[in-house]
């Protein structure tokens, strides 16, 4: 994946995070779509983690998960700690994240939502 594609995916994700909770599998699917068949699992995962790291460090996106009452529960973790947790849970999962095995969701940080 070239840098232009990487940036495009990141922009897409930032926009999508305004509208919905974005799960890890969605980011992985986007990466695979651009990488194509030449992208190994390890490479795809590395790209996903890089995207996640840049999204979190931008301050525009936060990690967490939806609640059963329709709300949002952010992880109260620093960015490095969040990345570590994602890596650990991904390892423990033993397979790629998928629908139902989201591990983590992302959404636009309240601080930077357009209406605020």
């Amino acid at each position: 994946m070239n840098e232009a594609n990487f940036v495009k995916i990141k922009k897409d994700l930032l926009r999508e995070c305004e509208d919905d909770w974005i799960a890890l599998w969605w980011i992985l699917a986007k990466v695979r779509k651009v990488c194509g068949e030449n992208c190994s699992n390890d490479k795809a995962r590395a790209l996903v983690m890089r995207l996640v790291a840049e999204l979190l460090s931008s301050g525009k996106v936060e990690a967490g998960c939806p609640t059963s009452t329709g709300g949002w529960k952010p992880w109260r973790l620093s960015h490095p700690a969040a990345l570590t947790r994602i890596e650990a849970e991904w390892d423990a999962l033993g397979e790629d994240p998928d629908i139902g095995k989201e591990l983590v969701w992302f959404t636009a940080s309240p601080r930077v939502r357009p209406h605020q």
């Binding site: 999508e16 509208d19 909770w21 986007k30 779509k33 998960c65 629908i99 139902g100 095995k101």
Partner: protein, 483 residues
């Protein structure tokens, strides 16, 4: 504090919509479980419907829900009468709360009983206006009655009093954005505040701002809904909304009472008065035949013309109604033309690799051109053979359904949670679905035998129910926005 000792049962005759609970036929239940609470005040109204040996079969102190499920329709009505008797005597909030819950249990199979629950809940609200309990109960009852706007409003009122009330939040999330079965009509519906409420299609306000729940109907609602589609609105939706919200002036549908059309009455009276004045002023003391030698011939002509006008006025409403009914078909036909334009546009694009070719191809046959034609040509992903069935559903005729959302893979279609469930059932046909296993996600989930997963979330960040598709070769989200 969750206050409801009983299990809230919201039964609604939709396709399966449940998590972690039994399903029965077409109906399903949403259960919001809360800690057990004393139901002593109403228990006898339920237990007294059974003979002792029948009651013993339920075991020691059976749950009221189990009793209700074991009742015949006659026994349920008997329990309703028992509750009504108790309601007449009830003076304490706890008693009214139990009674409302009892009515809700019974309304699972008799939705009309939910009105009784509203009545009891309103009394509870009056006794404890600062508590969320009465509002949660009324929200649940309105939900049971499929009066979703009022359900959302009452749930928002409950959340204003107790933001942590899970039952209120659940009802709110399941009600907002859904259209009432009484869509488009306005009327008083037992609102505890006594204000007139609209039950027209509307989206309830978010829980954080319950005060902002506003009435919304007619053109205002249509405008709000149309703008939701971010620049690529479906022509069918917009046309239908315009048709549905366009008044027909003096020939508008509705009861034909004299007071219904002041305009028509005023015009009729004015014309009659003017005619009488002209007639008397023009005669000048002469007889009609002296003044107008050809009056017999002219009266004949006038009778024919007047009769024709009368026939036209009588039949005009029917003609308008017919035209109105035919408009959606016309719009659908135009949309079909648009569909036909897409494959040709694709061929043109394949040949020239330019959007201008595609657009001109669309224009050649189109008479109907729309931005969605161009959008579709760009957004056809390469998909694997195993996803063929999903492709046929989600990308019929080579065009992705709906309009684009925040990205091209996120589609926005007009529909309610019921439509989302129907779509989910189609996508997962032949596959057993299960409650969504995702952490904190309410919805359904299915793993497709040919590979891939499909999930239905009853709520998303922005509100609408959303289907997630992750199939080798393509991924999509389909958001259902209330039309």
């Amino acid at each position: 504090m969750p206050s409801l000792g009983l299990t809230f049962v919201f039964a609604f005759a939709l396709s399966p919509l449940s998590w972690g609970m039994d399903e029965a036929g077409d109906s399903a239940q949403i259960q919001v479980k809360a800690p057990l609470r004393n139901d002593l005040f109403i228990r006898n109204a339920f237990e007294s419907q059974f003979k002792p040996d029948q009651l013993a079969a339920f075991g020691e102190k059976p749950a009221l829900k189990a009793l209700v499920q074991g009742m015949t329709p006659e026994q349920r009505l008997g329990a309703r009468s028992g509750l009504a008797t108790l309601e007449a005597k009830a003076t304490k909030p706890k008693e009214l709360e139990q009674i409302a819950e009892g009515y809700l249990l019974l309304s699972e199979t008799h939705p009309d009983i939910a009105q009784d629950a509203v009545r009891a809940a309103v009394r509870l609200q009056e006794l404890k206006p600062g508590s969320s309990k009465g509002f949660v109960l009324s929200a649940s009852a309105y939900y049971q009655m499929k009066d979703y706007p009022n359900a959302a409003k009452e749930a928002a009122a409950a959340l204003k009093r107790n933001p942590d009330d899970e039952a209120a939040h659940t009802v709110y999330m399941l009600s907002k954005g859904r259209t009432s079965v009484n869509d488009g009509k306005t009327g008083k519906r037992g609102n505890p505040s006594g204000e007139e409420q609209t039950v027209a299609a509307s989206r309830a306000s978010p829980p954080a701002q319950p005060d902002q729940t506003k009435e919304e109907s007619g053109h205002r609602a249509a405008k709000a809904r149309a703008t939701t589609f971010r620049g690529v609105p479906s022509p069918v939706i917009i046309a239908n909304e315009a048709i549905a919200n366009t008044p027909l002036g003096p020939f508008n549908e509705g009861p034909a009472s004299p007071g219904d059309s002041p305009f028509k009455t005023i015009v009729t009276v004015a014309l009659s008065s003017a005619g009488a004045l002209l007639l008397f002023g023009g005669l000048g003391g002469k007889t009609l035949e002296e003044k107008f030698p050809n009056i017999r011939r002219d009266m004949g002509i006038a009778a024919v013309v007047g009769g024709s006008i009368a026939v036209a006025m009588i039949s005009a409403p029917a003609l308008f109604r017919t035209a109105k009914a035919a408009m959606p078909s016309l719009v659908t036909y135009l949309s079909t033309l648009e569909h036909r334009a897409v494959p040709i546009a694709q061929k043109a694009r394949a040949g020239s690799s330019s959007m201008s070719g595609a657009t001109s191809a669309g224009q050649r046959i189109g008479t109907v051109t729309h931005p969605i034609v161009e959008t579709a040509v760009h957004e056809i992903p390469a998909i694997s053979g195993s996803a063929e069935r999903l492709r046929n559903i989600l990308i019929p005729d080579g065009r992705m359904i709906g309009g684009p959302g925040s990205s091209s893979d996120i589609r926005r279609v007009a529909g309610t949670i019921r439509d989302a469930e129907a779509m989910f059932a189609r996508l997962t046909q032949g596959t057993e679905s299960m409650p969504h296993p995702g952490r904190g996600v309410l919805g359904r989930f299915a793993r497709l035998p040919e590979g891939g997963t499909v999930g239905l979330r009853y709520a998303s960040k922005s509100g609408p129910p959303t289907i997630d598709v992750n199939v080798p070769g393509f991924e999509m989200k389909i958001k259902f926005l209330s039309p």
